[in-house]
Symmetry: C2
Subunit: 553 residues, 2 copies
């Protein structure tokens, strides 16, 4: 193995890898990790490679599995960065976020090319037109929120001189998922933006399926951090650790909070470790996102519904957190017709590529588990059919009685291009199905526009409401707008706490704040956002009223 490492003459640490990309892409070498502002040769002894899911071939370049000493170095640097930035105005974090967004745009082509290679997600429209613009927009929205300060719910009781606001919670570890290499990336996505907007350093744990993409982000973030005078440990990147070290990381005394988006099992292991020492851990785990189609809607617009549903379900090869994995129908000929039309669309649609071999394996296991639990295959059910790691678009069905009797197994997530149709004999069975749902991110109800479904809607909606974070009408769940009113969250096991959202500003930022109250603190010592004069124009709850004005004493 050939090693060419240029050392920084001052610090003797390796210089940023950006200069070596052409070399890395043709030769085998281990990429460094980003610790305390520098790209360091990892001291880890094991490595892994990314795999191109479309060709199933490994991509040149090794990524290190960091040993505990390296993880600890990152934690210490993050703690120092947290200390160094204490009391900084939101403006400082905003400037970094904006500089970072600009740097991402500057290297958009490299990011898109690398992500396409590592994830098989299409360049257009997905990566180029949808996800990259969304990512920089999130960073800029977070910057605006950080600058202005309303997100932190500043609250002033002027008579008692008690004032409170959400302040930085401390270093945040962000575990990004496999399915959004940009918008949920640990080094650039929604949790990253929110944690920074709240004033916290981030240790990004890159997802193993797209380490190159994450590396490019970290390079841009490091440059932006330097240019905006952030402390060296403000943004760091490690690619992988042992499971044990992952648990030590999330439960370390210097860590403030954790954001995790990914598989349920790993998430729950991390949750247990973090919970034990009272570290807030925000999880986004699996969700099957039930869709209830009421009979009037089928009578009114069956073909449109089938088209809408099929396209939502197969979008991105079904690899969305909000993918509609269950459809509930009332038994009648229209329901049979609907299933049949959807099956035809599933057969006609191109089969996409999975994000990786693991996704394919879990998908196959999921489909088998559903069948074992009583579901039957309407169409699909076989691996292959697309480029690389793939599986035929798969539609399953089961009757409501079987579902009710075996609801846990029949809620196994088959993450990918599949869905399960549940056919209920009557309304009572349909409502019983809802009562057996676990917590989900979303729930949709389709009803007719003339009112014939309204009575049933009024019985279905309250039951579904408590099971899902976001309730939709006549709309597929796969679009997750970055809106202040969005909830990308929901009851366990979809997330770890039903009061928080992972998407949307300002609410998403609040996850990474600790409530800081100032009781009788002398006025000149208060943070700017709590002083009588409202310098940033933040919305503040002053003596019971929301206002952008000054406190009049």
């Amino acid at each position: 193995m050939l090693w060419v490492v240029f050392l920084n003459p001052a610090s003797h640490s390796p210089i940023a890898t950006i200069q070596f990309i052409p070399f890395y892409e043709t030769h085998s070498m281990t990429y460094p990790v980003l610790i305390n502002g520098e790209w360091r040769v990892s001291t880890g002894t094991t490595t892994f490679q990314a795999v191109n899911p479309a060709t199933t071939e490994a991509i040149a370049g090794d990524y290190p599995v960091s040993p505990w000493s390296e993880v600890e170095a990152a934690i210490n640097a993050a703690a120092a960065a947290s200390k160094a930035t204490r009391g900084w105005p939101g403006e400082r974090f905003a400037k970094f976020l904006e500089a970072y967004a600009a740097k991402i745009e500057q290297r958009a082509d490299a990011l898109i090319q690398t992500a396409n290679q590592e994830t098989a997600l299409p360049v257009e429209p997905r990566l180029k037109v949808a996800e990259l613009p969304r990512t920089v927009s999130q960073l800029r929205q977070a910057a605006a929120a950080a600058r202005e300060g309303s997100w932190a719910l500043p609250t002033i009781d002027s008579k008692a001189n008690i004032r409170s606001v959400l302040g930085p919670i401390g270093p945040v570890v962000v575990f990004g998922p496999n399915n959004f290499p940009f918008a949920f990336n640990g080094a650039s996505g929604g949790d990253f933006a929110a944690a920074v907007a709240a004033g916290n350093p981030v240790i990004a744990k890159g997802h193993s399926s797209h380490p190159g993409t994450t590396r490019l982000f970290a390079e841009a973030a490091r440059e932006a951090a330097r240019e905006t005078d952030m402390p060296p440990g403000f943004v760091q990147l490690i690619y992988r650790t042992s499971h044990q070290d992952g648990c030590k990381l999330v439960s370390h005394p210097s860590i403030g909070a954790i954001g995790y988006t990914g598989a349920r099992h790993t998430g729950l292991v991390l949750k247990e470790a973090a919970d034990k020492v009272g570290k807030p851990i925000y999880l986004e785990l699996s969700s099957i996102n039930p869709v209830i189609i009421l009979p009037g809607a089928l009578t009114e617009r069956l073909d449109a519904l089938a088209a809408d549903f099929s396209s939502s379900c197969l979008m991105g090869n079904g690899q969305f957190c909000t993918n509609p994995g269950i459809v509930v129908l009332l038994k009648n000929s229209a329901a049979e017709q609907f299933i049949s039309v959807v099956a035809q669309k599933f057969e006609a649609a191109a089969v996409g590529t999975f994000l990786g071999e693991g996704v394919q394996k879990n998908f196959i296991a999921g489909i088998q588990a559903l069948q074992k639990a009583g579901a039957t295959v309407v169409t699909g059910g076989q691996p292959g059919g697309g480029k690389g790691f793939s599986h035929r678009n798969t539609l399953l069905r089961v009757d409501a009685k079987t579902f009710i009797n075996n609801s846990a197994d029949l809620q196994t997530e088959a993450f990918g291009n599949s869905s399960l149709m549940i056919v209920a004999q009557d309304e009572a069975e349909l409502l019983a199905v809802l009562d057996h749902f676990e917590g989900n991110l979303t729930g949709c109800i389709y009803s007719d526009t003339q009112g014939s479904d309204d009575g049933l809607y009024d019985r279905v909606a309250p039951a579904l409401r408590t099971k899902v974070g976001r309730l939709l009408n006549d709309k597929a769940p796969t679009g997750v707008a970055v809106s202040p009113a969005m909830n990308h969250g929901g009851p366990f096991p979809a997330t770890g706490h039903p009061g928080f959202t992972a998407v949307g500003i300002p609410a998403g930022i609040r996850r990474f704040g600790m409530l800081q109250c100032y009781d009788a603190v002398r006025l000149h010592r208060l943070p700017p956002v709590l002083q009588n004069s409202n310098s940033t124009g933040a919305w503040r709850l002053v003596d019971g009223k929301w206002t952008q004005g000054d406190v009049v004493t």
Copy 2:
């Protein structure tokens, strides 16, 4: 044992025990539990009695330890109540809370007499003038918040028609502590008021040290619930369960969230059970509430500070969550003088009575643990000196080096009339002491009024800020105003999550809400607080601006 039970002719269940109080107080019998709106004879086979801490004698009347079947019946009734109240306007919960507050006032004398007997807390001013008025005031503030709706942060994106609001999280179990028989009681306190204001039924777990007080509250709550047409399972009471059943209760699928105030060990056992299944559990555990007195303040007003500190530390015999258990001083003659004056005040002050034998035992163990860890007794240190369960007012001291080297043991909480003075050699040592603090509810800094301490303040305050929920200047921590800006919370292990407060409206209510988003939901189907017309005048975040107005489309 003589049993006289009047049965309800309709339901054959026992009639409310209020009618039997004179009988209960002179004879031995087992009190019923409140399940699904009725006082039921417990099926438990073991019982316990309250003890008068001032006389150390048992109080007549047995209270049942509820078996699992009884706990389960309460859970099922609460789940039914939760279902029955889905979609109710805040007005309904407000009416109940107000009726309940009035009923508490009607039976104030009985409550105060019983609480005084069970806790030895003085009738005046504590129970009558301070705690009872605070309790009914909290209930009425919660009612006003429920009626008006701003607490739930209604957020509207009118262009996208995405709207969100905090809705009821589901049945809440409230475990009340021993030290506030009214204001934090599981059946009447802050968590109770907040859970109900958010629209949730409550299962109160009474504290074993004051079951009679809790029973009187539950009787009043039951009457208020009947008069305001709440479902029968809306307020329920059990007195005690096995530890195992307590864990089953907090992790039951039908439970929405848990509020717990009390000892750390029990709280952490419940936390583990709840965390495992993603049930939000809000804990208020032990806290030692450090006080930092800067040298200029001692020079300026030593006697006033000693008086202020001693009175805060011994108030309620030191049995406050925010009791100042640690004082940090810079070594000099004024610090020695301060310790000496406080010691004199501790010796001169009357010794109070502990809330129970367990508190006395833990206090003695705490003082011994601190001594074993290197602290020495300045004054006190011996049991007795007051009526019943008591211990002499105890002041300890330790040098900063010893504290830093053994900081975990030296942060053992001795809940009661004691405090530990830490004397630091220099500023660096003082700052190192702060770095070793665990999470706390409060932290106080006293500085001089002329500015001589300001430089040091600026180094001390940022370090203390991240360790405490509430930072105070020149003020003792024991007063916890029910203010919208209050934070009665803080980092672990003071609580389980640093983003929430147990005292204060509206923030305290938000703990018991789940985020409910409505995406493209037809306008007439939205809950009233999210409709275009703002019927309750709630503050809503509409298109980025807080307003009480309607949505203009």
